[in-house]
């Protein structure tokens, strides 16, 4: 592969075959992945949706035209259909649904980000440790993983929330606790396939400790498949959070959580369809965005897909 001659300057520096520093090599590698990713149109759509979600969450105060918690006049502004004043209509407490959906993006993003931050390292650690050492460590860790996998995810999350008490923070903890086992399984499988690779033997022969090998040599190789899996799971996490909200165990009123909003609109879905539909569309779009992004990442990062 040679640097494209038509693009001078930065791109050439990034694609240099002879990087002059560690950072240049790393940035060049990232740039190559980015270039490969931009070729995937659906992946870019997914990325666009996710970036939009992040922007909406950051600038929710600026974007939302009304207060998400305080409704308007209960006599005149309840359950108004979508109009220029209220793009997505208003709900039974005369609150602007568009403002609530926009603020709900914050909650959704928080759930997704925190679950990813909590569950991914746990899954990686358990999986790589189990796969690398094997033996009784593997047996113990994998049986624990099996116990978690034996319950349907939403049911287990329900049980945890019921034990911890309802609320968005507890919902996040419950979802995180229930979502690490698949990552552990995935990381273990990847580890099993690389732990006897010659480059792992080589680093062992240089006297590296097990911790160093797992962290510095095994984890980077498991990383891409776990990242792909986490991204693809984001949709499920959003749905689980919405499901908990719907059942009244996630975010508590008056927090504008999308699942709770659907639950609120369910009672009059025939007459006032927009109350439940609008947050439903938001959930659908964001879930789709994460799925498309995950597919795109898989095409770029998965080493098996790369060797075409």
């Amino acid at each position: 592969m040679t640097a494209e001659p038509t693009r001078p300057g930065l791109s050439q520096w990034l694609l240099s075959e002879q990087p002059a520093s560690r950072n240049q090599a790393r940035l060049g590698q990232a740039w190559r992945i980015w270039l490969a990713f931009t070729r995937n149109r659906l992946g870019m759509v997914g990325l666009g949706i996710v970036v939009l979600l992040v922007l909406v969450a950051i600038f929710a105060d600026v974007i939302a035209p009304y207060d998400p918690l305080m409704g308007g006049d209960l006599r005149t502004a309840r359950l108004l259909p979508p109009s220029w004043d209220h793009w997505m209509g208003t709900d039974d407490l005369a609150r602007d649904i568009f403002s609530r959906v926009v603020h709900g993006a914050r909650l959704t993003l928080m759930v997704v980000a925190l679950v990813a931050i909590i569950a991914t390292p746990i899954g990686l650690l358990v999986g790589t440790t189990s796969g690398y050492f094997g033996g009784w460590i593997d047996v113990v860790l994998m049986r624990i993983t099996d116990i978690f996998l034996a319950f349907p995810r939403l049911i287990l999350a329900l049980a945890f929330v019921a034990a911890l008490g309802p609320g968005i923070e507890n919902a996040i903890i419950a979802i995180a606790i229930t979502s690490w086992p698949p990552y552990a399984r995935l990381a273990r499988a990847e580890t099993l396939s690389i732990r006897n690779a010659e480059h792992i033997d080589a680093i062992r022969l240089q006297g590296a400790s097990s911790g160093r090998i797992i962290w510095g040599h095994v984890v980077p190789l498991c990383m891409s498949s776990v990242i792909i899996r986490v991204t693809l799971d984001m949709a499920g996490i959003i749905l689980t959070a919405a499901g908990l909200g719907f059942l009244g165990l996630g975010a508590q009123p008056p927090q504008p959580e999308w699942g709770a909003m659907i639950a609120g609109g369910r009672r009059f879905i025939i007459d006032y369809w927009w109350v439940a539909t609008m947050p439903g569309i938001a959930i659908f779009v964001v879930s789709l965005g994460f799925n498309l992004l995950g597919d795109g990442l898989r095409d770029v990062l998965d080493p098996k897909a790369q060797q075409q």
Binding site: A20, D201, A202, Q206, P303
Partner: protein, 256 residues
């Protein structure tokens, strides 16, 4: 006293009914500064000797002594500073996500060496790669270049003994010669001791003063380079191996 002494080495993989007896009482010694070859067909256990010596294969019997001292299990850091290994497949022996710089810095970091930057650059120059290769990834290198990096990695801890596990069998012929010459030069410059495993008798007779022929996990015989060249063997198996290594010769009787 010999630098490496291996006495009645036994290696059994697995247990119970599915166990494989990979080595059956293998003994040999290697003097300091010597280059010792191990040849044999696939599955003869020649690579297992190396892997057992450096702790990658389980030793079920026998003794391994370095400088007259039995090695500990697991091996201590001092062992890894004295004995290093170059693997067969340069495509598998370098971490695919690490730059050459990281590959070479890692052993230095583990053993707390100073002047790491300088050592990495010097190691690259010594194996005939320029400093320009330092921040490349393995996928940007050819097989021969990768094997040079693997040799640089083995040398960077300044060991006395290098275990070479078919270091050139994954390379094409012209690159093979380059890498063998590089290994020859490094041995002369640094006074290294080599234990070379190969199925290629030409490589072994080029590189090694003494060699050992193995079959089914046992030693068939030991002979010197001169004996190998004179075909002065006592065992039929070695003779067959020599004949096979001369390549395919059309039986004149079949030419009508």
């Amino acid at each position: 006293m010999a630098l490496i002494e291996i006495e009645e080495l036994e290696v059994v993989f697995g247990s119970g009914g599915r166990s494989v007896h990979a080595l059956r009482g293998v003994s040999f010694t290697v003097e300091e500064g010597e280059s010792f070859g191990i040849v044999g067909e696939s599955g003869s256990g020649k690579s297992t000797v190396l892997r057992a010596a450096c702790g990658l294969a389980p030793v079920t019997g026998g003794r391994i002594l370095i400088d007259g001292v039995p090695v500990t299990s697991p091996r201590d850091p001092a062992f890894y500073r004295r004995v290093q290994m170059v693997f067969q497949d340069p495509y598998a022996s370098l971490h695919p996500r690490h730059t050459i710089d990281r590959v070479l810095s890692e052993p230095l970091a583990i053993h707390g060496f100073d002047r790491r930057e300088a050592r990495v650059e010097q190691a690259l120059v010594e194996v005939g790669l320029g400093k320009g290769f330092r921040f490349r990834y393995p996928h940007q290198l050819s097989g021969g270049q990768r094997q040079r990096v693997a040799i640089a990695r083995a040398l960077i801890l300044e060991p006395k003994v290098i275990l070479l596990d078919e270091p050139t069998s994954a390379l094409d012929a012209s690159i093979q010669a380059e890498v063998l010459n590089l290994l020859d030069r490094l041995r002369a410059e640094r006074g290294l001791t080599y234990v070379l495993v190969s199925h290629d008798l030409a490589v072994v007779s080029h590189m090694c003063e003494r060699l050992m022929v193995m079959q089914n996990g046992a030693v068939v015989e030991q002979l010197t380079r001169q004996a190998l060249r004179d075909h002065a063997t006592t065992e039929d198996y070695t003779r067959n191996l020599l004949t096979a290594s001369e390549g395919f010769t059309r039986d004149p009787a079949l030419q009508t």
